[in-house]
Amino acid sequence: MSDTADRVKKIVVEHLGVEADKVTEDASFIDDLGADSLDIVELVMAFEEEFGVEIPDDAAEKIATVADAIKYIDENKG
């Protein structure tokens, strides 16, 4: 598992209060992890802080799964 994936999953566990083993890469934030739209806004902010990336609103809207987040961060971090 990549370093990005580890850090993303840690943030998801902390913010959503879900069991770590539920945070698989294909897990959907809303359908599988109980997030609502505001939780995703908060997660995106946490990813931005953690990885020093900027995730604009139109990109954030396309992040639906854990894998989507990891992919975006890996492609855009400095």
Partner: protein
């Protein structure tokens, strides 16, 4: 007329996070006061408070018992305390699993005096240091006063009236009184009612200290700082926590075989129309509220056996006492009166609800809680039983709770055994 009774209780206080623990500690004369641990208070004039103790403490509060991890992260502590106290009260009343019809007839009126001040303070710093795009998306609904009622209704599916009183330190008493009226007026059969507060943060402590309301002269002796009616009283000690009761229409409670603690028989409200922080020097507003509650209850002075005073440990204590004397008589017609703020501090918006619960427990157990630290009673207290230092067994048929708030807002509640 529809009668309103109390069928469930819930408490989170500096002396414990469940009703029986708090009550036992209170009757044992324990103090919830100590040095502020929530933040570094070394530059504050006031460095003491009655904090709710952390999980792991002998009588600490474990938020994860009744509040989801995610919600704990998103909301201010006053909401967490309120959700937990509401859950306790519903469990106590045997109403956790209601049918759909009852959910439509069950509401919430759980308020707060100030709301999410710690979160407002910390997010202001985020805004200042990192900019608007770093402000939490949960900032607003995690701080709003009506969000205890909101969260509790969502958690338990309660679709009756959803309300929140904001009357400073009268909030808890007004919440219960107003909710009782909602039941009486047939808006609901069951109401969760009460108040919560948590403002032991740098801005909250500094603000009250600057308003000359907090005790700043007992930083080295926190347990002795809250001393209502004592000559050396010098301001209140800030507390935090929540108190919530289940109010229920009497026939409804009887029909389901509920345990009935007491009946809410009198409720009075008034305004001082005098000053934003100081009470009217003759306690006229306090007197009006008490007289209204007595009239609604159809009671005479000798009918009240216990008064849980507002008694914050300020100059206002004797103003309140003079008003109580005018209503109940110079010797209070045999009633005992104590201020439990001497033990748990001033819970501000939570105070009236927590103290009404103490009145209910005094009725249940026929014992009145003490006024701690009453070493040298003020001259104005002569001839009145203020229950100094130790709890006392006595007959308690009915009890009066007083709550007064900044802005000159007064509430008086009378409960009696059924």
């Amino acid at each position: 007329m529809r009668r309103v009774v109390v069928t469930g209780l819930g408490l989170v206080t500096p002396l414990g996070a469940d009703v029986e623990t708090v009550w036992a500690n209170l009757l044992a004369g324990k103090s919830g006061a100590g040095p502020i641990t929530r933040f570094d208070a070394s530059n504050q004039k006031c460095r003491i408070a009655c904090e709710v103790k952390p999980a792991g403490h002998e009588y600490g509060f474990d938020a994860s018992k009744r509040v989801d991890h995610k919600i704990q992260r998103q909301v201010d502590p006053f909401i967490v305390y309120g959700i937990d106290a509401a859950g306790q009260a519903l469990e106590d009343a045997g109403l956790v699993d209601m049918d759909e019809a009852l959910k439509l007839r069950t509401g919430c009126s759980i308020g707060s005096g100030i709301g999410g001040l710690p979160g407002i303070e910390s997010e202001s710093i985020v805004l200042h240091e990192k900019g608007p795009s770093r402000v939490s998306p949960h900032f607003v609904h995690g701080r709003l006063i009506n969000l205890i009622s909101g969260q509790v209704s969502i958690k338990y599916g309660l679709m009756g009236p959803n309300h929140a009183v904001v009357t400073a330190c009268s909030t808890g008493a007004h919440s219960i009184g107003d909710a009782a009226r909602m039941i009486r007026d047939d808006d609901a059969d069951v109401m969760l009612a009460g108040g919560a507060e948590s403002t032991i943060n740098p801005l909250g402590v500094a603000g009250f200290a600057q308003a000359r309301a907090l005790n700043c002269s007992f930083n080295d002796r926190p347990e002795a700082a809250s001393r209502p009616y004592d000559k050396d009283r010098d301001g209140f000690v800030m507390g935090e926590g929540a108190g919530v009761v289940v109010l229920e229409e009497y026939e409804h409670a009887k029909a389901r075989g509920a345990k009935i603690y007491a009946e809410v028989v009198g409720y009075g409200l008034s305004g001082d129309a005098y000053h934003v922080t100081a009470p009217h020097p003759e306690g006229k507003g306090a007197e009006l509220a008490m007289r209204m509650a007595m009239r609604k209850a159809g009671m005479e002075p000798g009918d009240i056996d216990y008064v849980n005073a507002h008694g914050t440990s300020t100059m206002a204590d004797t103003i309140e006492l003079a008003a109580v004397k005018r209503v109940l008589g110079d010797d209070l017609s045999g009633a005992s009166m104590s201020s439990t703020k001497s033990a748990i501090g001033h819970l501000l918006g939570g105070a009236g609800a927590v103290e009404t619960i103490f009145c209910i427990l005094a009725l249940r157990d026929q014992i009145v809680p003490p006024t701690l630290n009453l070493d040298n009673p003020d001259e104005g207290t002569i001839g009145v039983d203020l229950v100094p230092h130790v709890a006392r067994k006595r007959t308690v048929r009915a009890a009066l709770n007083n709550s007064f708030g900044f802005g000159g807002t007064n509430a008086a509640l009378i409960i009696k055994a059924i």
